[in-house]
């Protein structure tokens, strides 16, 4: 059953769109990422023109992140204060990155540069997360699920960055340190989350993604935020980056709202599954599954680059099928873990939840 989408000018199978939306919602709720690399790849396989695949994907990410953030907020997983400080850095960075992107586009370098950055960043993050999982399992005397960079996180949290207070008209002198009890951080310089938001926003704007795949590991491994809170707060940030992306792409008329609305229905069902599963699955399990997913993303983008160099469509198809295959498998694993936890009457992760 195919539907003709008037804005994208293409007919796409309704069951396939619903399946893609369901997979996106599940992974987004479980990992706390927007899933830009997955949705764009999926829409390309369905024959949606590339620029519409990116624009429509970003709009869907905005919608599913709103649902996911609200859901995670109900579970107590969103640190709003930390999210707001990061957004303060993200918004200017998005516009700065958009300028750089336009310059690269004009020079004809945008495609290869973006793909090489993607391959490197996704591979580095994925390998590190898998390495952290196995390293944590080998070590003795540490709590199960504890991250391998706990010392680095403590050092970052204790950084004292001048100025230590700011004079704001109407508010008087305001300290530049905040307490983030939800994230388990006693005292943190606001320049750290603002700086992280800026860096992530810059990458997100450059790569045309929500940036969640970078932010989630940074919050866990650099800032020491508990995994479930990192997931919820990350989604809050993606609502902002997704909204800016939606605005930019819909201004140039590269979004198909009808396609977004259809996929959003399925994504909202997947969201229920993904977010609920974070309550039952061990934190280190979430991290290693995420690591494997983004490693497959790295290989897929590498195949896309090979396709653009050789001009062979088979590399491009292999990339999209690899992404969808891994994402679908992860959804089945998440469903299996949830069913297993429900059957055993488990109400929280069996081991450490950091």
């Amino acid at each position: 059953m195919e539907i003709l989408f008037p804005n994208a000018g293409v007919a796409v199978s309704l069951p396939l769109l619903l399946l893609l939306g369901l997979i996106l919602g599940t992974l987004s709720g479980f990992f706390g990422v927007g899933g830009g690399f997955l949705i764009t790849g999926g829409l390309l396989v369905f024959g949606v023109p590339p620029i519409f695949a990116v624009g429509t994907g970003l709009t869907l990410i905005m919608g599913s992140s709103i649902i996911n953030t609200l859901k995670h907020r109900r579970l107590g997983n969103v640190d709003i204060k930390l999210g707001i400080f990061m957004v303060m850095g993200t918004i200017p960075a998005l516009f700065l990155a958009e300028r750089l992107n336009s310059a690269l586009e004009a020079a004809g370098l945008a495609g290869p540069v973006i793909r090489y950055i993607y391959v490197f960043v996704l591979a580095a993050l994925g390998l590190f997360m898998v390495y952290d999982h196995f390293k944590s399992r080998r070590r003795t005397g540490v709590q199960p699920g504890e991250i391998s960079t706990a010392r680095l996180a403590r050092r970052v949290q204790s950084l004292r960055i001048p100025p230590h207070s700011l004079r704001i008209p109407g508010f008087g002198t305001v300290p530049t340190y905040v307490s983030l009890p939800k994230s388990g951080i006693e005292r943190l310089s606001i320049f750290i989350p603002v700086g992280i938001g800026f860096g992530v926003g810059f990458f997100a704007g450059l790569l045309g993604a929500g940036g969640g795949f970078i932010l989630m590991p940074i919050l866990i491994f650099v800032l020491g935020v508990p995994t479930t809170v990192a997931i919820g707060t990350d989604l809050f940030q993606i609502v902002i980056t997704g909204s800016v992306g939606t605005l930019l792409y819909s201004l140039s008329n590269h979004v198909d709202p009808m396609m977004v609305v259809i996929m959003l229905v399925a994504a909202s069902a997947g969201t229920q599954l993904g977010t609920t599963a974070t309550k039952f699955v061990e934190a280190s399990g979430i991290r290693v599954m995420y690591g494997l997913t983004i490693l497959s993303g790295s290989v897929a983008v590498g195949l896309e680059q090979a396709a653009s160099v050789t001009g062979s469509d088979s590399f491009s198809s292999a990339a999209s099928f690899l992404l969808l295959g891994v994402a679908g498998t992860m959804c089945l694993i998440i469903l299996g873990l949830l069913v297993k936890a429900k059957r055993s009457g488990q109400t929280s992760p069996a081991t450490g939840h950091h």
Binding site: L60, M62, G63, K71, L247, L251, L264, T347
Partner: protein, 59 residues
Amino acid sequence: MFDALSEFLTTFSGSYPLPWSLFVMAVVAGFSLVLFFFWEVVFRLLRAVNPFRRTQMGE
């Protein structure tokens, strides 16, 4: 009905870029909220129907 909707979407998007982008954002954000509350109601109803279970999906 479908033809009229397609006509509206293509005409509006091509003629008024800024109102169109604000319309897209408003529709997606509004629909997301509707879906969130829809699932909230569904899970509340499930809990009401099955009060003896300690935990439910969606808690």
